[in-house]
Amino acid sequence: MTPRLIMKLEVSAVADAAPGVRVLTFRHRLRPTLPKPEPGAHVDLHLPDGRVRQYSLCGDPADATRYTIAVKLEPEGRGGSRWVHQQLQPGAVVPVSAPRNNFRLAEGARQHVLVAGGIGITPIAAMARHLARCGEAFELHYCVRDEASAPLLPELRAACGTRLHLWRSGGDVPSRFDPHRLSPLPQPGTHLYCCGPHRLVDAVLAASAGWPAGSVHVEHFAPLYDAGFVPEAFQLGIASTGATLEVPAGRSALDVLREHGFMHPSSCGIGVCGACECGYRVADGSTVIHRDVAIDDTARVHRMTPCVSRARGRVLLDL
């Protein structure tokens, strides 16, 4: 994973976009423009205690004068959203990374189907704005409880017009999004993008199971949720030194590497960002258990994320 430039950006505006959802705008203190983001990209916010949190850019990707994120307060979360809501006021200066994109619009697609649930609208909003400006064919399905709790709705209505379909799970007359309305066999060149709660993502993935390989794209905001997973102890080999480190069942490989002095880059710590990605080899009889959502299937043959991924037996890391 490549390092990214960290810029000290100033919060230029803060606004409440929906109950519990705050929209923050960042500008560079010294320069008029920022690295231009692709639609679907996210940035890292570096918290004062060293934690790093990823937020999708939801503003217009063509506007490089500012970055906009929307952050939902998660009172029971790991603390990132609480910090954003409580501490970030206009004038605050925050270390923010240059954008990275793990959720790209497919090049050469003829039709884009965007599905967002709740705060999952953030990367989808940037995609929709881009597609609308470029005059590309798309439809946006936005699943919310009700209009009042739908962040970015006015802007999206203005940008998308009739291509925006709002689906409500609450209110007097619910109109839930039914993933089965997605065509089981889409027109060639159609690409599907989904971001939102796991239930929505799972339903969309199930409904699009017959779509051509590579035409369905999902953005994960939480790590894999295999609740039944029972971690086991395994061995980490270090290719450069030949050393073997023991990883107990209750600790991550990344923790053990840190304890032994490896300054290995990492960011989210939950297998989402890919910052700690590393090359590996395994001997016969050993296997790597990939538990991240950052590395695609083709790369998993030789790359793993030591923050969440584990092994059975012994894995040799290219360190």
């Binding site: 490549t2 430039l5 960290i6 000290k8």
Partner: protein, 167 residues
């Protein structure tokens, strides 16, 4: 480059001062700075121990690069890449950008900048890390002209515009 009497006779100018608080942080321009002997520039990652290479033993209190190199890259001279390569003084991640200072001759040489005295330690090496941060192929074009790492023998204030001369 000694004169006829064997005395080095060059004189340069400090054009830019840049620091970053930690690895990967964008370099920030300063008009003046404090150099701390044996450590680095106040506020810079290699003074704070937060740089990419802070754990490595080599001297890197402060790094210098010649503006003449950046100007050559902007002319694509020699023609190492398809097009001119424009690198702003805030992008190359060396601390001090200087003009008229023969950096390649300064290994083991003491020289003065403002109130401070530096000693050339070793020539810098271009890094893939910079290439990745910038997202541009700057590794090969900077080969053999990537500046110098220096030790700070005597600390003090330095300012943009300061004269740089050998001791």
């Amino acid at each position: 480059m000694p004169g006829d009497d064997g005395t080095p006779h060059w004189r340069g100018t400090l054009l830019h001062i840049h620091v970053a608080q930690a690895a990967s942080y964008e370099m920030e321009p300063l008009d003046e700075a404090t150099l701390i002997a044996g450590r680095g520039i106040e506020g810079d990652r290699y003074c704070l121990g937060t740089g990419t290479y802070s754990k490595l033993p080599a001297v890197r209190d402060v790094t210098l690069i010649e503006i003449e190199v950046l100007e050559a890259l902007a002319r694509n001279d020699p023609p190492l890449q398809d097009a001119p390569l424009l690198i702003d003084p805030g992008q190359h991640r060396r601390n001090l950008t200087v003009r008229g200072v023969p950096l390649a001759h300064l290994v083991g040489v003491r020289f003065r900048i403002g109130e401070a005295v530096l000693r050339g330690a070793r020539l810098s090496f271009p890094c893939r890390y910079l290439e990745q941060l910038l997202g541009r192929p700057v590794y090969q074009p900077l080969y053999n002209r990537s500046g110098i790492n220096c030790a700070i023998e005597q600390g003090g204030r330095i300012r943009v515009g300061d004269r740089i001369e050998p001791l």
